[in-house]
């Protein structure tokens, strides 16, 4: 596990309660916008069901679709690269830049490159990468990772963004007007778009039938980058495929309604072939995905279309913040994807949930997220990543609860202590007591009452 686990980081986040309230309400607002948008679509549940089944088909025939996609993309004039892991992915991107003598690049939103830590890697190689999604640019200037996969700087207040822009872009100190700051960012980014010869984008959907890919943004920054650059590199995980173009409508109708409550992204751009004189590359990345595909209980997690509806609905995410998950993809979906990448480092994440089940039911592709969280807990314990103290406590609790006579004696003793020596439980060593009073203790259990009053 990393230095601090989710519980410790969440504890830190909760020291500023008004900020937690603000974070919770901001994201709940997005969840409610999603509800309103979905309510307007009478066939919403049919769309979810259909999308989920299309992804079932994709996952069951992944190698065929990947081969078909590659074939078609090559036919369209796109160069296709395969990367087994993050390192291979980063090497491919770097070698393309090196080949063209490029040391500056613009990049639109790609959670895959966050997962692969591409920015850090390229920086070490002397490549300057500018994130062009506004939220991503904000966190990049702040030297932080995104806290949310759709709303990367949702943890920042506008005043804080004003300060960051003042420091890095020279906007007047104290100016936190969103329109003013957005305009400043636009001018700053415009210069980058015009001067960079390479643009990297993510991929939302890759269509096997046609070899084209679709990139969804609200800011048009993927298009600005790709249209102006001599070389367009698009990076995608192997699970981004859909079989045919006709399936795209199902996903586009679900994606943005689930994400932000908009009917569709402002730009849903299709890239099929490079324009004359341009080079277009696709890097198809595995990085643990085929391992996850082989885990029967967890393969459905690969259906994810990265809408973040599960983040916005998660009562734990809203009150612990994205950084408490210490991974590229936070939230409930991140908690079932990350243990596959590094079970030890992310062994805390499947426990960062009450298993309330809201995530599984907002998910537009019906991933059984909370059931997978439960299953990951079992795997993590079985693989030996549970803390020793917890193991002992669980064994003791289990011994009491498996033996009726021990249970009855322990119950009596426990109640006696709570009644006669309340200081043994009402103290700072009891994590329950820190924020809550203990229940009032009855003189007798129901079992004892029943013996006296029935039969």
């Amino acid at each position: 596990m990393s230095k601090q686990d989710h519980a410790a980081l969440a504890d830190e986040f909760n020291k500023d309660e008004p900020r937690v309230d603000w974070h919770d309400q901001t994201l709940w607002f997005v969840r409610e916008k999603r509800d309103k948008a979905a309510q307007k679509v009478p066939e919403w549940e049919w769309l979810r069901d259909t999308a989920s089944k299309i992804k079932d088909n994709v996952l069951s025939n992944l190698s065929e679709y990947l081969t078909l996609f590659e074939e078609q993309a090559i036919r369209n004039g796109i160069v296709v690269h395969w990367a087994a892991d993050a390192k291979a992915h980063n090497d491919i991107v770097y070698s393309l830049l090196k080949k063209h003598g490029i040391d500056r690049m613009v990049k639109s939103k790609s959670m895959l490159t966050e997962e692969c830590h591409l920015n850090e890697y390229l920086k070490e190689q002397g490549i300057d990468v500018v994130d062009t999604d506004l939220g991503e640019r904000v966190v990049q200037l702040a030297g932080e990772p995104p806290s949310h996969i759709v709303l990367p700087c949702i943890h920042k207040k506008k005043e804080e963004i004003g300060e960051i822009f003042h420091e890095h872009l020279g906007t007047p100190a104290g100016n936190a007007d969103p329109q003013f700051l957005t305009h400043a960012a636009r001018l700053h980014l415009r210069e980058k778009f015009l001067t960079r010869r390479a643009a990297l984008t993510g991929v939302n959907f890759a269509i096997a039938e046609t070899g084209e890919f679709v990139v969804c943004t609200n800011e048009g920054n993927a298009d600005m980058g790709a249209h102006l650059a001599d070389i367009h590199i698009a990076c995608m995980g192997i699970e981004k495929l859909i079989p045919q173009r006709k399936h795209l409508g199902i996903f586009l109708r679900l994606l943005t309604r689930s994400a932000t409550g908009q009917p569709i992204t402002t730009y849903s751009s299709h890239f099929k072939r490079p324009r004359p004189g341009q080079e277009m590359h696709i890097v198809i990345v595995d990085n643990g995905r085929s391992v996850q595909l082989g885990r029967k209980d967890f393969r459905n997690s690969l259906k994810c279309i990265r809408c973040a509806a599960c983040f916005n609905t998660c009562p734990v995410y809203r009150r612990s913040g994205g950084h408490s998950y210490h991974t590229a993809v936070a939230g409930p979906i991140g908690s079932i994807l990350s243990p596959n990448l590094d079970m030890k480092q992310y062994s805390d994440l499947p426990f960062a949930s009450t298993l309330c089940g809201s995530c599984s039911n907002v998910c537009p592709v019906k991933i059984d997220i909370h059931e997978q969280l439960y299953k990951w807990r079992q795997v993590i314990v079985q693989e030996g990543y549970a803390p020793a103290g917890k193991k002992l406590a669980m064994k003791a609790m289990n011994w009491v609860l498996s033996n009726p006579s021990v249970y009855h004696t322990a119950g009596k003793a426990g109640r006696w202590f709570m009644l006669n020596a309340p200081f043994t439980v009402n103290n700072g060593l009891n994590p329950w007591w820190k924020g809550r009073d203990m229940p009032e203790v009855p003189r007798e259990s129901f079992g004892q009452w029943y013996k006296k009053n029935r039969k």
Partner: protein, 239 residues
């Protein structure tokens, strides 16, 4: 019909009045109720913590205690769901175990409750009952609304059910989550309590005492006069 009464361990030890109210209700509607004395726990606290492999003892004990009954009824959605989803070694038990509210509405088909509770009451929809057992429609789905707990509460004389800003947000109890992630758990509970208080609740009720125990702990810490009551207590009350 012979009903085996399954009382969650913490209800047995800390909230006997909830078990007594459940027993009263079942008897009132003509069930032949029996409480097997050797019952302990469904095993959920260990299983949800990743130690399902330790729960064979609880599993076998449950089968031994309850296999013979026509129905098993439990005043907790969470424990009921755990048995339904995770009990192994007896294929019938998951089919004949019911949470109290759904047993009253779906099996006994109760249409009249002789109870009165002239107070403003907020209903906390516990997640496992709501999303797991489908005791009520959840706000995530675009589907017609229904609520079995509300259906019953509305038969209680004098009761005034209040609205909530977030009608099915988790309270943050979450089993061992409540101590392992105490900060977030308490914050979630405080926010739930605030929603009920803001809308004028005198009582908070629900079908799961674990959530109510958590909310009660917060109310008491805040020195609030607002109390929690399990839905069985309200359905069995004569004020």
């Amino acid at each position: 019909m012979r009903v085996g009464l399954f009382i969650p361990c913490y209800v047995d030890q800390l909230y006997p009045q909830v078990a007594i109210a459940t027993l009263h209700l079942l008897e009132k509607y003509g069930c032949d109720v029996d409480y097997p004395a050797d019952q302990t726990c469904c095993g959920q606290p260990m299983a949800n913590s990743g130690f399902e492999h330790l729960t064979q003892g609880c599993n076998d004990l449950f089968i031994k205690n309850f296999a013979a009954y026509d129905y098993i009824v439990c005043p907790s959605g969470s424990c009921t769901l755990h048995i339904k989803d995770h009990l192994h070694g007896d294929a019938d038990i998951p089919k004949k175990i019911y949470e109290l509210v759904e047993f009253l509405t779906d099996i006994l088909k109760v249409e009249n409750i002789e109870a009165s509770f002239p107070h403003k009451v907020g209903l906390h929809q516990s997640c496992h009952g709501q999303r797991g057992l489908k005791l009520a429609q959840m706000t995530e789905l675009m589907a017609p609304p229904f609520s079995k707990p509300e259906q019953l509460l509305k038969m209680v004389k004098g009761i005034q059910l209040i609205d909530l800003a977030r009608k099915d947000e988790c309270c943050g109890f979450g089993g061992t989550f409540c101590v392992a992630e105490a900060a977030v758990s308490v914050k979630m509970g405080k926010d739930r309590v605030a929603d009920h208080l803001h809308h004028g609740a005198e009582y908070i009720t629900g079908a799961d005492m674990s959530c109510l125990m958590h909310l009660e702990g917060i109310l008491r810490r805040q020195k609030s006069p607002v109390q929690v009551k399990h839905i069985a207590e309200i359905l069995d009350s004569k004020e």
